[in-house]
Point group: none
Chain length 416, copies 2
């Protein structure tokens, strides 16, 4: 089954937003063995959209259409597909009920054009929308399979994962199983990692090995094909073992897991509480930590100590340290980590102080960062970084390094 | 001149990377008045790429092709375009020199396939690559204009800005100027906003009006065409005035500005300092605030008060409030805002407490949020929200509402 993804929306053609839906869907379709041969983007224009549909039908079996299911006038996806396929639109009771409930719950006023969102193509299987109002749908016409999905990624992604994949798997004719696994590394550059496994990459066939670098991390995606799923998994297991025997010290997790996920898991398992003093990161560490559902239980709280005044008065960094060593210093990071743990009554204190940029600070260059970690009231260990990126990249990498150092520290303690 | 962007690369169809080049180029082309009607993505497959070229030629005057200019086996863009257009490839001396220099400078060994990168289509105008080895090029054949650009955004973007735009502007036949402006709204739904300006949308021609909703915000993009740029701006000014006379109370800014940018600007102008107590948002408000270069000067600092213990011990929320009203309450929000301002010695205290989800808290449903704002030591004003989204969406919207309420409050004070 060959697929094509058509995104509908003039905002894509104007460069206002990026077509992240095509990337998400392509990755998901690869996992269930559906080849995507084309992506198309077309504006909110019925004629050009119909033209794109005709081309897609001439070369693809399965056509996914994203966007244009909303309540406004330029949302013309359903109407155009309906007229193109010669299928009438009908109001779906369940979808209508969900829309009415949404307005009741949020105490907002419902307008007539919101009712349009409950219309579906006659005979279509409805994909419920648990994060918005417009339902998705799947319909077959003349051997072609059509799937309509809402444009906002916050609606499309959960809808596809929960209902879309299931709707497809039942219709798949191919018996080849594709298994994919991502290995995640931190603390090693892409070129160096590739060097270490160069022969494996050169001789790859099944599984394939695809490296990708992003924001200080490197990932390797292993993909194996086999008629028996357990055999595909075995092929991946073998290759993973070979790779990790060479660069295992930099490996930290699988697939979509982040360093922060790993940290939250380890803290929860060990019933440890954490607190955080953030200067240059401005709250990013704690924001990411609390974005993981359930992780919040390990976080007592923390202080954003952006000014020297707050470092001194709220977190009691010594006057001598600030005047003699400065706030971008080993000593300041240590005192911040120790004192935030004591203020918040937490097992662990972690601190971030440094120069995010664009300007230098205390004569220290952009990218100078100190991370302090104090566990169980012990004097803090401090790590120094020399990062070379933009303000945004330096902050992101600082938070990742914080997770990485703390994970290492906790594993050392466990093993001791 | 109607344009189409064809991206070549199997990694795009596998979902390994996102087609950010199409977004970048579309935005840039819009600025110089070139309409983009289609984006296409095709894999590293000569047959399917040729097929995509034929379709593009049937509907577009100007075809931009990105990616596949590298030295490896799967880089087939130049060869395919050459055979499709019947133009031979020739080695470009300047490009060859640049490639040799690159290898000399980095002391790396040059392989035969690197020479491939210096090949250009006969008769093409070369676009030099100052950030990599593969040159870009522009060529005309039978009234169609073709532009080939390298795939990596770090090479494509500077190449297009420095050489690509200039190459195009010289070839543009139309002298029509296009001006675009985005109006940003908060606190009103997309459907409701459109209802208010339905007649303007129905009768739009010049300027056009394109609404877009994302994360609780709605934007309207106004685009006007005129042979004289000042007249295009006038057309937009007139339409903006009409729109704002109806929904001006929800308008907060232009183009790429965010609510947080507006807030940071207002605080700086008025030399006001701010502090923040964050429970459900976990640091997101302060992380976003400090991500704006230079904004940090207005932020004294803040407390992430994720636990009741920290609310009580560090921010001194009264025991009575926690036991009687709970932490998800008007009173708790007020005390948090007042006390964080006093702890941090700041002019303004803002607090966020509520239920992000997925589970309810204190018997209060997911999406119940209180935002407290205290200015100059005065008792806090508290706003209540009933949000209906996921954990992530509720946190993002809470931060946006925080900016929105604080902006409103500060403007009220200014006007009083």
């Amino acid at each position: 089954m060959n697929a094509e993804i058509i995104a509908v929306g003039s905002e894509l053609l104007l460069g206002q937003i990026t077509n992240t839906n095509a990337r998400f869907l392509s990755g998901q379709l690869a996992l269930i063995g559906i080849n995507v041969y084309y992506h198309t983007v077309v504006g909110d224009n019925a004629t050009r959209f119909k033209h794109a549909l005709e081309i897609a039908e001439s070369r693809s079996d399965f056509i996914i259409i994203t966007g244009g299911l909303g309540p406004t006038k330029d949302d013309l996806t359903k109407e155009t597909v309906a007229s193109h396929l010669g299928l009438p639109l009908e109001s779906d009771e369940n979808a209508m009920e969900q829309i009415e409930l949404f307005f009741k719950r949020t105490k907002r006023e419902m307008t007539e054009n919101n009712r349009k969102q409950a219309l579906i193509l006659q005979g279509a299987q409805v994909l419920p929308n648990n994060h918005g109002m417009a339902p998705g749908m799947v319909v077959t016409k003349e051997d072609k399979l059509y799937m309509l999905l809402p444009g906002p990624p916050s609606e499309l992604e959960p809808m596809f994962l929960t209902y879309g994949t299931a709707a497809l798997v039942g219709r798949l004719s191919s018996q080849e199983q594709i298994v994919s696994r991502v290995l995640r590394f931190f603390g090693i550059g892409e070129a160096l990692l590739e060097n270490e496994i160069e022969d494996l990459i050169d001789n790859q066939s099944n599984p394939t090995i695809a490296p990708l670098a992003a924001e200080g991390e490197v990932t390797l995606r292993l993909t194996a094909k086999h008629s028996v799923i357990s055999s595909a998994i075995e092929l991946i297991d073998e290759m993973e073992e070979k790779i990790l025997s060479r660069v295992g010290q930099y490996f930290y997790g699988y697939d979509e897991i982040s360093l922060m996920d790993e940290l939250a898991k380890l803290l929860k398992e060990n019933k440890l509480t954490i607190s955080c003093a953030e200067s240059l990161t401005g709250g990013m560490f704690q924001e990411q930590f609390t974005s993981i559902p359930g992780a919040g239980g390990s976080l007592k709280g923390g202080v954003i100590c952006y000014t020297n005044e707050v470092k001194a008065n709220v977190l009691h960094v010594r006057k001598e340290t600030i005047e003699h060593d400065g706030v971008v210093s080993r000593k300041c990071a240590a005192e911040l980590a120790e004192n935030v743990a004591s203020l918040m009554n937490a097992d662990i204190g972690i601190s971030f102080t440094g120069v995010a940029g664009p300007d230098e600070l205390e004569g220290k260059p952009v990218g100078t960062v100190y991370i302090g970690i104090s566990v169980n009231g012990k004097p803090a260990a401090v790590e120094k970084l020399n990062l070379g990126g933009t303000r945004a990249a330096n902050r992101i990498r600082t938070v990742k390094y914080g997770c990485y150092f703390l994970l290492k520290k906790l594993k050392e303690i466990q093993e001791a």
